[in-house]
Symmetry: C2
Subunit: 353 residues, 2 copies
């Protein structure tokens, strides 16, 4: 499906289901509003699914992996080879995302969408390789617009397939040495911030490394002149294959009317691009956590999303999104299982102040 057809299929979420959910919650045996953001989440999910009763399982985390030409500029604490090594680790089930996905009963879908080198993946890794890593975004466009469209299409196709198989919630994950540099450049463009304000330490670079990384982001912006008014071109210029793939995941989930749970800084950058392309996609986003990466706050602000928690995570892979799953389940269970004042014979407010 081409991008224009995909975005044309995204409809706003259901405000009537949202209102019905709030009424249902107000009749439950608790002071009105006392479950705070869990109630907000229940309302949001009901509006996504168009029903006060909705399922938050089965679910899947889609981990898109890709390499970045900019890694040669010394912007990461780890060598580029770690991307492919971690894909093997994902396939073997030993990474943090595997552990947390198992805990949260989510399927892990590992996608090579642009890993460098010739890789002999195990069968569980999907090969959707657009190219063997991007070009150095500080020297020119990271990829072509044709490649960006291909990555978006691949992401959307994976979601469509998962939904056909019954998946009701999609979580976004990623792996790619150098990808906080691309995410910083995209956040600078789409949240309209200076490079220095949205560039952080990523995997843990030192002070000289951080200064170098900021300079690289500034060069990327100066060289490519990306603009939020041409989002696809901006994504191609300073993005990454996994980020473009996640743009497709987000647009695909919105088109399929399933909730898409964002992880941290990288997936937040993908969300910024996605909602700029198709603003109605925002209705389908759930922000799980606020990352320790400074740019994530700016991205969430521009998305007008309030994350559910802040645990100082900065690992990516989809780990933060996994930790939000029990909250989605809990919000649904409250709606389905809790007694009402009437059914339980509990008195309402006495009006006594």
């Amino acid at each position: 499906m081409d991008l224009e057809t995909l975005t044309s299929r995204i409809e706003p979420a259901d405000t009537r289901a949202a209102a019905a959910t709030q009424r249902l919650l107000d009749g439950k045996t608790k002071p009105p509003g006392s479950l705070g953001r869990l109630e907000e989440l229940a309302v949001r999910l009901a509006s996504i699914y168009g029903d006060t009763r909705y399922a938050t399982a089965p679910r899947a985390v889609i981990v898109m992996a890709a390499d970045h030409g900019v890694a040669c500029r010394g912007v990461s604490a780890y060598p580029q080879a770690v991307t492919a090594q971690m894909v093997h680790n994902f396939a073997a089930g030993g990474a943090a995302i595997n552990v947390l996905a198992r805990q949260m009963a989510a399927r892990t879908v590992i996608v090579d969408i642009g890993v460098a080198g010739t890789n002999d993946w195990p069968g569980s890794v999907r090969r959707c390789t657009v190219a063997a890593g991007t070009a150095d975004l500080s020297a020119g466009p990271a990829m072509s617009v044709v490649e960006a469209r291909a990555a978006i299409g691949a992401g959307a196709a994976i979601v469509a397939e998962l939904v056909r198989e019954g998946v009701r919630v999609v979580a976004t994950g990623e792996m790619g040495i150098g990808n906080t540099t691309a995410a910083a450049a995209l956040t600078a463009v789409f949240a309209a911030r200076a490079a220095a304000a949205v560039t952080g330490r990523g995997t843990g670079i030192d002070d000289p490394g951080l200064a170098r990384k900021i300079a690289v982001v500034e060069q990327a912006l100066a060289r490519n002149r990306p603009s939020a008014e041409r989002p696809l071109e901006a994504l191609a210029a300073v993005g990454g294959f996994e980020i473009a793939g996640l743009v497709g995941v987000i647009l695909g989930a919105a088109a399929e009317r399933v909730a898409v749970v964002l992880d941290g800084f990288i997936t937040g950058a993908a969300a910024l691009v996605a909602v700029t392309i198709a603003p109605q996609a925002r209705d389908y986003l759930i922000a799980s956590h606020r990352s320790a990466e400074p740019g994530h706050r700016a991205a969430l602000g521009a998305l007008a999303l309030d994350p559910l928690f802040d645990l100082g995570l900065r690992l990516g892979e989809g780990t933060g999104a996994m930790l939000a799953m029990p909250l989605l389940d809990a919000a649904g269970a409250i709606l389905r299982e809790m007694a009402s004042f009437e059914s339980a014979g509990v008195s309402g407010p006495s009006g006594g102040g």
Copy 2:
């Protein structure tokens, strides 16, 4: 067991297990520290259990219910009868805590430690009634010191029994119309704050109700002159039976070396009393969430505990504590299941900045 014997059994948590856990985490396939507060939680739990491998199940939430004489002063939006009605709702499985405890695979232990009236409870409700509700704390002591000791002893005995049955994590819950007034008075005493700074809307009182509630807390403090230097007397003077019972739960859990997960404002007030009686009990506390009640921030500050999340909850019952359970599980799973750089053949930092 008397209180002095109980507190004498509480030992500091195991700093060697904590250090071993941090080393283990640093060898896992992720940038050091990148799982943020999940790593901190893993370290804390290992220090509680004295082992890098620990179980966070089976678990139980102890919901202590009691009435408050001060309810007659119009400090709650709900009539006093709601306490007993909600105990029936707990027994029938229809309250928020039942729904969330089921989600989190926790056993719900419902305890009448001081509900007013003659109640015909179903068999699942434990009857540990110290008295049929406290006296009005704004007119004199809420209970006697003998009663406070009895309630603490009952809470500690329940934990000891649960631990004998295999429970490895205890969560604190409560129900009692009027109990945010008692918790505000205790927080004022033990966190050394003015009544107005720690008194909130509880179940949702209006502005005149809030002004009245603050005045009632001020009267309670003026009349009883409670002091943190005599914590048991202060608890008796301005506490509640469920709060005293929870002091026992906390001290009992610490004595048994199991983690005790705090819920919101009421259980935070109980924790303040418990750690004033036995400072080493603090090592066993996990703060789940920051409540919307303003006094909870002061209580957590005085406890030097940083909650895991803030979802604007203000329901109590143990609901926030339940939402923390998947984080405890996740922290343990990361330690047990994640690959190391060595085992997965993943390169460490390149040192390239």
